[in-house]
């Protein structure tokens, strides 16, 4: 409860949360209603600048950019959320098994994590996409795999730092089972770093999805995603800059939202930084 009271005072985290909620609402509204049909072409209104009729203008097929951004928000958010879910579940499992049981299994799992860490994230993602093929669900798998090691390392370090503390030892001494100790004593203590990592992963997921779609390896046209909108805008951006500006702004604002939330939460987590952090 204390946590939520402090969260209310943390304007950075609140600002982030507000942005995220705005996007979630936009994505939900977009299921039922968009100003225009996001995939319908209209050759009479090709590359129209922003106006009252098309607030953010139209693209090279005369499609309404605002409608496409609203539609794209659903895809980007869905991909980023499910990928983060995969990464966190996998990573938490690996990290817990590794940290709590230790031994040979720990050694093996950590070497696997080391190997995944030796690829630059974008390169690993495009490598996986190159092998699995350019499908939306493969984007989710690729992003999920890329960000699993971060969770695994974080959780393992957290479990290790708590495992040998006195209160855990006494819980073992009075006969607490492993699952009981994990769920009642260990997880509550590493929950906030995990939440911070989740918000970081959500932001990285949006960025990675947009980069993959931009390169033509992610969400495929005609379905709009912010990344592939930017990609097709490249041919017209000099005569119609709005086709490139608005989808990018949509990405920046949402990613900023996740980063603000994560950063604000980190303050709550580390009281040492509360006074000096800028």
């Amino acid at each position: 409860m204390k946590f939520f009271i402090r969260l209310r005072k943390n304007y950075i985290a609140l600002a982030g949360l507000t942005i995220i909620i705005f996007y979630l609402l936009m994505a939900i509204v977009g299921i039922f209603w968009t100003p225009y049909d996001p995939t319908e072409m209209n050759y009479e209104e090709v590359l129209q600048p922003p106006s009252l009729k098309h607030i953010l203008g139209t693209d090279e097929f005369g499609r309404d950019i605002l409608s496409r951004i609203i539609w794209g928000s659903r895809i980007s958010i869905l991909i980023s959320f499910t990928a983060t879910l995969i990464a966190s579940l996998l990573g938490i499992t690996i990290g817990t098994v590794s940290g709590f049981w230790g031994g040979k299994l720990d050694n093996f799992l950590m070497r696997v994590v080391d190997v995944l860490f030796s690829f630059p994230p974008l390169l690993l993602a495009i490598f996986i996409m190159g092998i699995l093929g350019e499908k939306t669900y493969n984007v989710i798998i690729a992003i999920g795999i890329v960000y699993t090691p971060q969770f695994a390392r974080l959780v393992r370090a957290g479990v290790l730092s708590i495992k040998n503390l006195d209160f855990i030892q006494s819980a073992i001494a009075i006969g607490g089972g492993k699952l009981h100790i994990l769920s009642k004593h260990i997880f509550p203590n590493i929950l906030i770093p995990i939440i911070v990592q989740i918000s970081l992963c959500l932001s990285l997921g949006i960025l990675l999805e947009s980069a993959l779609s931009f390169l033509g390896l992610g969400v495929q046209p005609p379905y709009p995603s912010w990344g592939n909108m930017l990609s097709s805008a490249r041919r017209f951006m000099i005569i119609a800059p709005w086709t490139a500006i608005f989808p990018g702004l949509a990405i920046v604002l949402l990613v900023l939202g996740f980063n603000l939330l994560g950063d604000g939460l980190r303050d709550l987590l580390d009281p040492r930084l509360r006074n000096i952090r800028g």
């Binding site: 950075i12 070497r111 696997v112 080391d114 190997v115 030796s118 690829f119 630059p120 994230p121 974008l122 390169l123 495009i126 490598f127 996986i128 996409m129 190159g130 092998i131 932001s203 960025l207 947009s210 980069a211 931009f214 390169l215 033509g216 390896l217 930017l230 805008a233 490249r234 951006m237 000099i238 800059p241 490139a244 500006i245 990018g248 990405i251 920046v252 990613v255 900023l256 980063n259 603000l260 950063d263 000096i276 952090r277 800028g278």
Partner: protein, 316 residues
């Protein structure tokens, strides 16, 4: 120090081994063998010819043996042949390396000359407005997709001659001045975002260090603000930045793909993209191996450099 370097060197061997296993077996997951991809659907071959081809392509043995043979060829510098051009892939990859290195170095350089001075300046004054401002700029640096920033640069500067390479890239050895001019905007697209991150990191570190006891001592003995900051605080505050830069150097080698794509620069990233779209797997394997090798190597060098500067690390 020698012992530390040796220990770290040995520790990357199993990692690189694991990388090679992953790169080899992931490509094996693809339905259809390299040979089938090479032949396509148009070529007809007799069973005897197929047998011969299978031997040439090394597909006549069990997979673990194939892996070991492949690995031993890699270790001898034979990365195989392109399925599209039939040329050895390694020279093609290495010919792209200088550009990727150059882009990485320029970007890091720009991020440092933007980030560190601003970080120091902003740490001199502490008030809520600057705090929030620096924080938001730092987070914005993390949130900007580099390819979008690059796209905006193209829109803004498209009228200026020579700033945007767009296909007619000129190498450093041919014309250094023109080369640097062409790489300026691509590097800035990366360096701005990274610079914002470096700035915030610098400032936070300085503020943290300024609370240390030895700084209080330095102040107590009457040193000027300037001397305390530059002689005592800065050295310790700037150390961790090496880690950030080192990590990003490795990251950029493979991560500048999007920037190379926007500015049509012939770097390794775009070659990787070409390999994927052409289904040229030996080329793709080669690029991924080389980049991750460099990535691991740069991280190792960062660690060693860090241990060299900060002796505490060596004894942990």
């Amino acid at each position: 120090m020698g012992k530390y370097i040796l220990k770290r060197l040995l520790s990357i061997i199993p990692v690189l081994f694991g990388v090679s296993i992953l790169v080899f077996f992931l490509v094996r997951l693809i339905p259809g063998s390299a040979l089938e991809l090479f032949l396509g659907t148009q070529v007809e071959a007799t069973p005897e010819q197929m047998e011969e081809l299978r031997r040439i392509f090394g597909e006549d043995k069990p997979i673990p043996i194939l892996y070991l043979e492949w690995l031993s060829r890699i270790l001898r510098g034979d990365f195989g042949y392109s399925l599209r051009t039939s040329r050895p892939v390694l020279p093609d990859i290495l010919s792209r390396l200088p550009l990727s290195l150059e882009l990485t170095i320029f970007s890091l350089f720009l991020s440092v000359i933007i980030g560190i001075p601003l970080g120091i300046l902003s740490s001199l004054k502490q008030n809520p407005i600057i705090d929030i401002l620096i924080r938001i700029i730092g987070l914005l640096g993390l949130s900007l997709p580099q390819f979008w920033l690059a796209t905006l640069f193209v829109i803004l500067f498209s009228s200026l001659e020579g700033l945007i390479p767009m296909g007619n890239f000129i190498s450093f050895s041919k014309n250094p001045l023109l080369n640097i001019k062409m790489l300026f905007l691509p590097s800035l697209a990366i360096g701005l975002g990274l610079g914002a991150v470096v700035m915030r990191f610098t400032r936070n570190n300085i503020l943290e260090v300024l609370q240390m006891d030895y700084i209080k001592t330095a102040k107590a003995k009457g040193l000027s603000q300037k001397a305390v900051l530059f002689k005592h605080a800065l050295r310790n505050a700037l150390l961790p930045i090496i880690t950030i830069l080192g990590f990003n150097a490795g990251y950029l080698l493979g991560g500048a793909i999007v920037i190379e794509e926007v500015f049509a620069l012939p770097g390794m990233g775009r070659l990787a993209l070409y390999a994927i779209f052409q289904r040229d797997y030996p080329l793709l394997q080669g690029i991924v191996l080389i980049i991750s090798f460099l990535f691991v190597l740069i991280n190792l060098l960062t660690d060693i450099l860090y241990a060299f500067i900060d002796p505490r690390i060596r004894y942990e």
